[in-house]
Symmetry: C2
Subunit: 415 residues, 2 copies
């Protein structure tokens, strides 16, 4: 029986050209985040099914690749539902595993702990252009820092990285769950419906202000609440003045400290700019995942027409593992989107090595092959890249191919 | 309900100290193999269940983590066996995915194709010290090269790498499936029993020569065959003279080209040494996986008392995907074992950066925090590592912790 040549649905083989860019971006991430003192860690790709299905992951929990129990533990005849067959699954993000990692290893880690985690995650989403079922995430998180120094530093790190990768003129959109809640409360939405309101608000990008209004009304919320809510969004500008104005309007519904918290972050980010970008207050920013408790942010890039990264504060998640609350804030960059943008823009990696190819003529004596290989070894120990290959019948074509692959120095060896 | 803090059985969280060594080894692998012209590629961690269960993987096929079908495709009530519930699994090695990758993408790849693949693989083995159910493999493979230039180059690359990582006095043990078969044929073992004979021979390390003899006899092979077989192993030395002697004894049972093939590889490897190691002919070397067709090799290291890498030629596997045979030869290093050895030997990474920490006093004005962060940014852009953290109540302890983490330059900032 012939085997299957294609990757499994929605996953992809990564070809050399893309791989080169991925590895370049990974090195930039490691170096840049490294200078900030983020420490690389790794968690297993497989996670307990209980942790994955603990309502931390929102809709992603519907997209889990579940792993079957093995051996005697798999009792097919007794199984009445899917849950009886599985004990684990592939992680759908790096945040749940990070929270588990921190609770498991906190004694061996500094406090605050600044973690850098890069790794694949899996979501059984409907496959579509540029979206895959296995994709890389690169997260930085600061655990154990209650102050907004964490937010400021995360924004500083991500923007420094994006600048180094050649991106500019992007926008850091920023909001706070406390502001989201205060606005909803102010307009008379009942507290138990907040999540419903935010899920609809989150569609603003796709359906626009009128669409949001319609959906809110269809969901049974009062005309007055909806009109007042939309009025608020129209009333505030996207800078720190906008936050101050909102503070006046909301009055006692919003803790002034929450407003000042966000103003501090925006002002610091403006001062600490290492490349050209904007920081914008966006009261419509929701971010899907339900675990955020405070600041939320997202990087928008015109070139992509969407988000290339985001994150926020999630002060309750680690407590779900340990019973003790630990403040936490993180930022995830859209690694795959960034690589795609670099690929599409014909990005070339700076400082490429010269590449030499040795062509060995067919039938060379073993001793002559060895001496060619010794020469290659001595060039390599000087840091050069040297490919040693047997010459083919069609040597002209072979040389063309090698040139196309970047081998500018091609040397032929005869017996 | 509290969540589970430990990683899933048999998998591990990787702490900063180990991670530092892993990343160092990965960089050495990328750099060293890069100078040989190996091209990095990546395949999905999830593979078609048909490809994983195609009898290429020997016993590893019993250890697959299987992934459940999703949505409507999972028909629990109609399922009569495990196979009805799964459509994919986690890869147990990188060779099967590489063969699939090559058949899928050969038109876009150079020929011969020298691939470097690093990635996690999963085996639901009984957990034991130093062996995990998720572990990293680092493979180099040369696809499309029928000559032993492939073997010579692979050995040259792996030994150069091991030398750079500070290893020496290891042994490259080498054999050939053709020699294994010729020896068995010469002693009168029936061809259909060769695999049984080799599985027993493979236990030589554990049960010794006498143990192998006993098991062969218990399996019903004739006393004469067994005695002659053992006599052969005793008669040959572990150098190229041993191969020549074996050639004389086996006469027409062994193609002299197969013997010369191995002699060439051993002689070239001796000449191309970039660090102190031995190349040894080992006629008892079998290597479990059934897909090897020619040369097989293994790196033995006294410090580990076992293999830290191995590989061989598998000329038939790609043909199982494409219908066209493609010569292939690869070498996999025991990444986890190498990292473990470095960790246990207190390995320190050369050329560590100086690490600076800024301690910000509680209650500093936002503007002062910003100026400290600007100073940090300017030091980072010069390549320095600078950690910015809020000072704690117990500052003395905090400084001790930072010093223990390698922060030799600690600066305090007041309002």
């Amino acid at each position: 029986m012939p085997l299957k040549k294609n990757p499994v649905t929605g996953m992809k083989d990564i070809l050399p050209r893309e791989m080169e860019i991925r590895n370049y971006v990974i090195r930039q991430i490691q170096e840049t985040y490294g200078t900030f003192g983020y420490t690389p860690i790794e968690t297993p790709c497989v996670e307990h099914i209980e942790n994955l299905c603990s309502k931390q992951g929102g809709d992603n929990e519907k997209l889990i690749f579940k792993i079957m129990k093995r051996g005697e533990k798999l009792k097919l005849s007794e199984a009445s539902s899917e849950a009886d067959l599985t004990d684990s699954g592939l992680r759908y993000d790096l945040t749940v595993p990070l929270a588990r990692y921190y609770s498991n290893n906190a004694n061996d880690l500094p406090s605050p702990f600044k973690a850098l985690q890069m790794g694949s995650v899996w979501r059984a989403d409907r496959p579509q252009r540029g979206r895959f079922r296995q994709f890389m995430q690169c997260d930085i998180d600061i655990l154990g820092e209650p102050g907004n120094l964490a937010e400021i530093e995360l924004i500083q790190a991500i923007t420094t990285l994006l600048g180094k990768l050649g991106f500019h003129d992007f926008t850091i959109r920023i909001n706070d769950r406390r502001i989201l809640k205060a606005m909803a409360a102010h307009c008379g939405f009942p507290e138990e419906s907040f999540e419903t309101v935010f899920i609809i608000l989150d569609k603003m990008d796709k359906i626009g202000m009128d669409g949001v209004a319609d959906e809110l009304k269809e969901s049974g919320f009062s005309e007055d609440s909806v009109q007042e809510y939309l009025g608020l969004f129209r009333a505030v500008s996207d800078d720190t003045d906008g936050i101050r104005r909102l503070c006046e309007i909301l009055g006692s519904d919003l803790d002034p400290k929450a407003a000042q918290w966000l103003i501090d972050i925006m002002e610091a980010s403006d001062v600490l700019k290492s490349c050209a970008f904007r920081t914008a207050f966006d009261p419509t920013l929701v971010r899907g995942m339900s675990y955020y408790t405070g600041t939320i942010f997202e990087v928008s890039m015109d070139e992509f027409g969407g988000s290339v990264g985001g994150g926020g504060r999630y002060d309750h998640m680690i407590g779900r593992f340990t019973g003790t609350e630990t403040p936490a804030c993180g930022f995830s960059i859209g690694f795959e989107r960034i690589v795609m943008l670099l690929l599409e823009n014909g990005f070339t990696i700076p400082e490429q090595k010269e590449k030499t190819a040795f062509l060995l003529e067919k039938g060379m004596a073993a001793a002559d092959v060895r001496s060619a290989m010794e020469e290659a070894a001595s060039m390599r120990s000087g840091g050069k890249q040297v490919l040693v290959v047997n010459a083919k019948k069609n040597k002209k074509f072979q040389k063309e191919q090698l040139t196309a692959d970047g081998y500018t120095d091609i040397r032929e060896f005869f017996k």
